[in-house]
């Protein structure tokens, strides 16, 4: 456990010393939030749009932006740097459990996403967005966002370990776009066209987004929240297990 913490601290330090990589993970999602709301808010006025539950369209869009903020997978890009620079071998030649190398980076990713997601919500509050489910809801929202960051970074780390290439890892990150856009990101699922609704139903990110949205727009809706957390838990176990397996077989 100490080794995971030591490696997490190192990864946090690394992120803080690379502001040029850290700041876009805050500003790009905020940019998308502003643009999406700017384009569609007048179509969905809060007074006459039932799915907004009395809030403005920005509140509906906030989960998409949080998911985007959690999907940069920068932990994997730092891992590729370690592999290419030789530091990864230095770690592997030390008596460090392979799982600690994976969890150290994922721990830092969770902490970083917690900070970024909290900042995003705090920035959003003065613009009329409220977390309807209160402080517990806020905590659940941030935890779910951070958990998704761990899942997505786990996937990216898997690609990094398999390919050992920054270009391939970067390209793999683009999978987030279909994952994010084949969801009810602009309107709830029942309002999507049939093909989009089918795609969204099969997309696991849909359930995470719906859980986040319910936290923002409604009081705590436990079945919906549990479904979101369940999806993250299953994907997390799969991604982390595959990453650990991959690092153990790394030759």
């Amino acid at each position: 456990m100490t080794k995971v913490l030591v490696l997490t601290q190192r990864s946090v330090r690394e992120a803080l010393r690379t502001p040029e990589a850290l700041l876009p993970t805050l500003f790009i999602p905020l940019f998308f939030l502003v643009v999406n709301v700017g384009q569609a808010a007048r179509i969905f006025p809060s007074g006459s749009t039932p799915f907004l539950a009395g809030q403005n369209y920005a509140a509906f869009q906030l989960p998409s932006s949080l998911l985007l903020a959690a999907s940069f997978g920068s932990a994997a890009l730092y891992l590729v740097e370690d592999i290419e620079g030789g530091y990864f071998d230095k770690l592997r030649a030390a008596p460090v459990p392979r799982t600690a190398i994976i969890f150290g980076r994922l721990g830092a990713e969770a902490l970083k996403t917690t900070a970024i997601a909290s900042t995003m919500v705090l920035i959003a509050l003065p613009f009329g967005i409220t977390i309807a489910s209160g402080f517990l809801g806020f905590a659940l929202l941030i935890l779910l966002t951070a958990s998704w960051a761990v899942v997505f970074s786990g996937f990216m780390q898997l690609i990094a370990l398999k390919t050992r290439s920054a270009a391939a890892t970067n390209s793999a990150g683009l999978i987030f776009f279909p994952l994010l856009f084949l969801t009810p990101s602009f309107v709830p699922r029942p309002l999507l066209t049939k093909p989009m609704e089918i795609a969204a139903t099969y997309n696991p990110v849909t359930y995470i987004m719906e859980a986040m949205r319910s936290i923002v727009l409604q009081d705590l809706d436990w079945p919906v929240i549990a479904r979101g957390y369940g999806v993250v838990a299953i994907l997390g176990v799969v991604m982390v297990s595959l990453s650990v397996r991959s690092i153990r077989r790394y030759d």
């Binding site: 230095k90 030390a94 030759d251």
Partner: protein, 266 residues
Amino acid sequence: MALAIEAEQLVKRYTGRGGDVEAVRGVDLRVEEGEVFGFLGPNGAGKSTTVRMLTTLMTITSGSARVAGVDVTADPDTARQRIGVALQEAGLDVRQTGRELVMLQARLFDMSREQAAARAEELLELVDLVESADRRIKGYSGGMKRRLDLASALVHEPDVLFLDEPTTGLDPASRLTVWDELQRINERGTTIFLTTQYLEEADQLCDRLAIIDGGVLVGEGTPAELKAGLRQRHGLTYEPTLDEVFLAATGRTRERVAGEVQEVQA
């Protein structure tokens, strides 16, 4: 004397893009405790692959290896406790400071924060990096990086230190500094296994040498034995240099090895 490294019939085979490759083909090694052992060979001869197998970084296809008395395949974690590793191209996290890097390494070897801080100070002094210890590694010169890499490989006072081309790319002054440090480390009782392409370096530093080519050992002995052997075999009337030994052992000509093996004068 006890053996620090003992390898029997080491083989590494893997499938590359061009098909099956046998990078190491039955290498036997016996390195005694306290020795500085040089492992020479041209590029692609199997030096680094052998080092990676001995340091648990690569699986062994067949054969066996014991380092500091530990079977590296059966008990890699114990082996890692007893070895220090500085691989080709100093493997450092350049966003950290020198002190942070050495302390992190010490923490990974189960030292407390206080022990790690004290050990870092001691090692940074040993490699003469105290003044730049709190600067980011990104700004270090090549020689400083190599010395820091050495320091981080020594945090746990390893029984055996593996160095893969520790002076490649260094200027003569930095090379001399690294040589001095290696001699000091060896005097403290650490066995050193180093690969190098610099024959002068091997001649200066190593008690014994092995030459590998095409994945097999083609010569082994002290520098003096290897030179005397060549002198006898070829009836030479002068003392041959180590690069002549190398050329004879690998069946290469000077033209063919251009760019593969270099002789340097530090």
